[in-house]
């Protein structure tokens, strides 16, 4: 029932697929119920956002924006040699392109506000990442990050100390205590046999890791697999398949619109847009609520290549597709009735020192750790969310290692996939792998880490030096997980998706931001000019007043106050001015009897209804002054 005049909207198959019905994010029904992301701000952390483009300008949030590359509040992208700084603008268009403006396309959450943090166009350090992740975190609700460490199949990297601290701080203090939502793209290293478990942003429990599928629902050639992927959504595929149509920059070779946005970069902003729709209907969802809703609503579909496994809690997961396809209708309906999950509970095992040789495949080194009821009693942890394993392994060729983790249920995760291009001799030094595949399962029992060497026989021996298990979850019992699943399925008809139904939301915390709004040099210059003008104008005015008073001082024949009032009035009349104070002065008695001096309004009216400023009233009561 919705019609948009945006010329490229009919080609936005990811929003409304007419060629292959059902292969889209299922958002139109949500829009029809006026859920468009209103009241939510999404920030694109990237190479800038061209906010002056017609599709962006009306939804642009300067309050949430910043340029960390130039250190000013303006995130406008800078043209570069490769015409490459259009990336952030394209992502922003996917999220919040304005509809019905006869320009290009429509965003998933076209009622939301969109901000930009420019950080990828220059040298980047850990401290800059930390600043970016918390920038304006009481204004920005969702951080969309379509970038990460190199996807070259040999990099192992992620947030460093400060970046990690900022992510943690963001989920605790951001969004008035409900927690910033960090959406990250899983990676484009498919051709290089890369895997997103070697990306620390994807492994982080504080992020939502989003992968891509093409229009046919298959994993594209560029996409990466991993055990920490939460879900997938649409993006481009090979040459025969359509890419994402979205707003583009109009600088250099840009036209303001593109049909060629692809990669996991294109998938993550769609997910961020869907998160904005969720937050409109339920603003008090915490960062963990959002993760849970994704797990509970993502749809598993038939894809034999994806190797779906169903865990003990009944959730299907694939290393290729996470818990499945994001579906805007399901996400929003679930969000509408969602009550918060219990607080985050965790368990950390001791550092388990092994110093054991890793055998060549088909052999493997297996180490286990039992988590007892007593171990979990202190934190109250009962069911799992994320499971993390931190390992230190020495090995002459890191890419030959294969690491698998088995949860107490037997659910297996490939947490460290072999990578043919990774010949790093340094092994792993306290690298944390994570999996979400045991979500909702009981936490108690035996965890088994299996490590093997899939390299050739000439490779030297690897050693598992130490490992440590960390469990994250909540006090929910498995039955409560199941009960919540049933509750959500009941809501999928859309019966709660109207303005008349809303669950109460607790108020958020008042968390002040440190630096508020910093002034650019240009703004400072403008302010200085205005200040100078004000000073000169004041000086001129004072001079004029003083000169006009000289006549009074020299008039020795008239020194009394009544005389001055009469003279002033006389002069004003001579100059053709009708002073508002004049009738008040003459009707002083009337004015005094009309009301107490502390009238609520700032002025009072004379008999003719003329509004007189309070200042004039005061002047009359105290008598004339010169």
């Amino acid at each position: 029932g919705l019609h948009f005049n945006d010329p490229k909207f009919p080609q936005q198959w990811h929003l409304n697929n007419r060629r292959s019905p059902g292969r889209d994010i299922n958002v139109t029904g949500v829009w029809e119920r006026n859920v468009t992301g209103r009241g939510v701000t999404v920030v694109v952390v990237d190479d800038g956002v061209e906010y002056t483009i017609r599709d962006i300008r009306p939804n642009y949030s300067p309050e949430g924006s910043y340029d960390l590359n130039s250190n000013d509040p303006d995130p406008m992208p800078h043209p570069d040699e490769e015409n490459g700084n259009h990336h952030g603008t394209r992502c922003a268009g996917e999220i919040a392109a304005v509809p019905n403006n006869s320009f290009c396309a429509v965003g998933v959450a076209f009622g939301s506000r969109i901000a930009g943090i420019r950080v990828l166009d220059g040298p980047l350090t850990d401290s800059m990442e930390a600043v970016a992740f918390n920038k304006h975190y009481q204004i920005n609700d969702i951080y969309s990050c379509s970038w990460g460490p190199d996807d070259d199949g040999k990099t192992v990297d992620g947030p460093h100390q400060l970046g990690k601290a900022a992510l943690q701080h963001g989920v605790m203090a951001g969004r008035h205590g409900f927690g910033s939502i960090f959406v990250v793209a899983s990676g484009n290293g498919g051709q290089h046999n890369d895997n997103c478990n070697y990306d620390g942003y994807a492994n982080s429990i504080y992020t939502i890791t989003i992968g891509a599928v093409d229009e046919e629902g298959r994993m594209p050639f560029y996409a990466e697999e991993c055990a920490s992927m939460l879900a997938v959504t649409f993006s481009g595929g090979d040459k025969m398949l359509r890419s994402i149509v979205t707003t583009d920059w109009d600088l250099q070779k840009g036209t303001g619109c593109t049909e060629g946005h692809t990669g996991t970069s294109a998938a993550a902003p769609l997910a961020a847009g869907m998160m904005a729709l969720m937050l409109q209907v339920r603003p008090c969802l915490t960062w963990r609520d959002v993760q849970h809703i994704i797990v509970f609503t993502a749809t598993r579909y038939e894809d034999h290549h994806a190797n779906w496994d169903t865990n003990q809690a009944g959730f299907g997961h694939s290393h290729q597709h996470g818990f499945g396809l994001l579906n805007a209708w399901r996400l929003v309906n679930a969000a509408k009735i969602w009550t918060s999950v219990p607080y985050l509970a965790s368990y950390v095992s001791p550092v388990l020192r092994e110093a054991k040789v890793i055998p060549l495949a088909p052999g493997s080194l297996e180490v286990v750790w039992n988590v007892s009821h007593a171990d979990l009693a202190l934190s109250g942890l009962r069911t799992l969310e994320h499971v993390a394993v931190t390992v230190t392994i020495s090995h002459p060729r890191r890419g030959s290692l294969d690491l698998r983790l088995s949860c107490p249920s037997g659910m297996l995760s490939l947490i460290g996939a072999p990578r043919s291009l990774d010949s790093d001799p340094g092994g792993f030094d306290d690298w944390t792998f994570s999996t979400v595949r045991c979500w909702g399962e009981g936490a108690q029992g035996q965890y088994r880490l299996s490590v093997r060497d899939v390299g050739d026989r000439e490779s030297r021996v690897g050693i598992l030096e130490r490992w440590q298990l960390t469990l994250y979850g909540s006090a929910w019992r498995p039955q409560e997980v199941e009960e919540r699943r049933r509750l959500l399925e009941d809501a999928m008809s859309g019966k709660y998706l109207h303005d008349g139904f809303s669950l109460p939301c607790p108020p958020g915390l008042d968390v002040p931001e440190e630096d508020g709004y910093s002034l650019t040099p240009n703004t400072l210059k403008t302010l200085m000019l205005l200040g100078c003008f004000a000073v000169f104008w004041t000086a001129y005015y004072l001079l004029e007043v003083c000169l006009s008073q000289r006549d009074v001082a020299l008039d020795l024949t008239c020194g009394g106050a009544p005389c001055r009032r009469a003279r002033n009035r006389h002069r004003a009349l001579e100059e053709g001015m009708e002073l508002e104070a004049t009738p008040l002065y003459e009707n002083k008695d009337t004015e005094e009897t009309e009301g107490p001096p502390d009238l609520p309004n700032q002025g009072s009216r004379d008999q003719e209804g003329t509004l007189a400023p309070a200042l004039d009233l005061q002047e009359v009561r105290e008598g004339p002054v010169c």
Partner: protein, 105 residues
């Protein structure tokens, strides 16, 4: 690095350290005290306190002041800074800031 917020676009990155100081997790007054200690510590290390790192309480960015850039001088400055920061009892953690490689996806 001219400030905690970032660098001049495409400009060279000089020496800088992220420093986490003790006793800065509390109220604003404590934070102000920590800032003053950070200023003094940065001076002792031959660096300038460029301010707090974003919203992370107790975390400061120390940068090397502008001056002649010679290899020998830079290494000497690095050693001095490392010595002072590693030896100071109020420094909970410190790390020299290095360029990160990040790719759009």
């Amino acid at each position: 690095l001219p400030g905690p917020g970032g660098t001049e676009a495409r400009g060279p990155v000089g020496l800088s350290w992220a420093v986490h100081l003790d006793g800065a997790e509390g109220e604003e007054e404590e934070e102000e005290g920590t800032r003053q200690r950070a200023d003094a510590l940065a001076r002792a290390a031959g660096l300038v306190n460029a301010g707090r790192i974003g919203e992370l309480r107790g975390h400061y960015l120390f940068t090397r002041p502008a001056g002649p850039r010679e290899d020998g001088l830079e290494e000497a400055a690095r050693q001095r800074a490392e010595e002072v920061l590693a030896g100071h009892e109020a420094v909970r953690w410190h790390a020299e800031q290095r360029l990160l490689k990040r790719a759009k996806r």
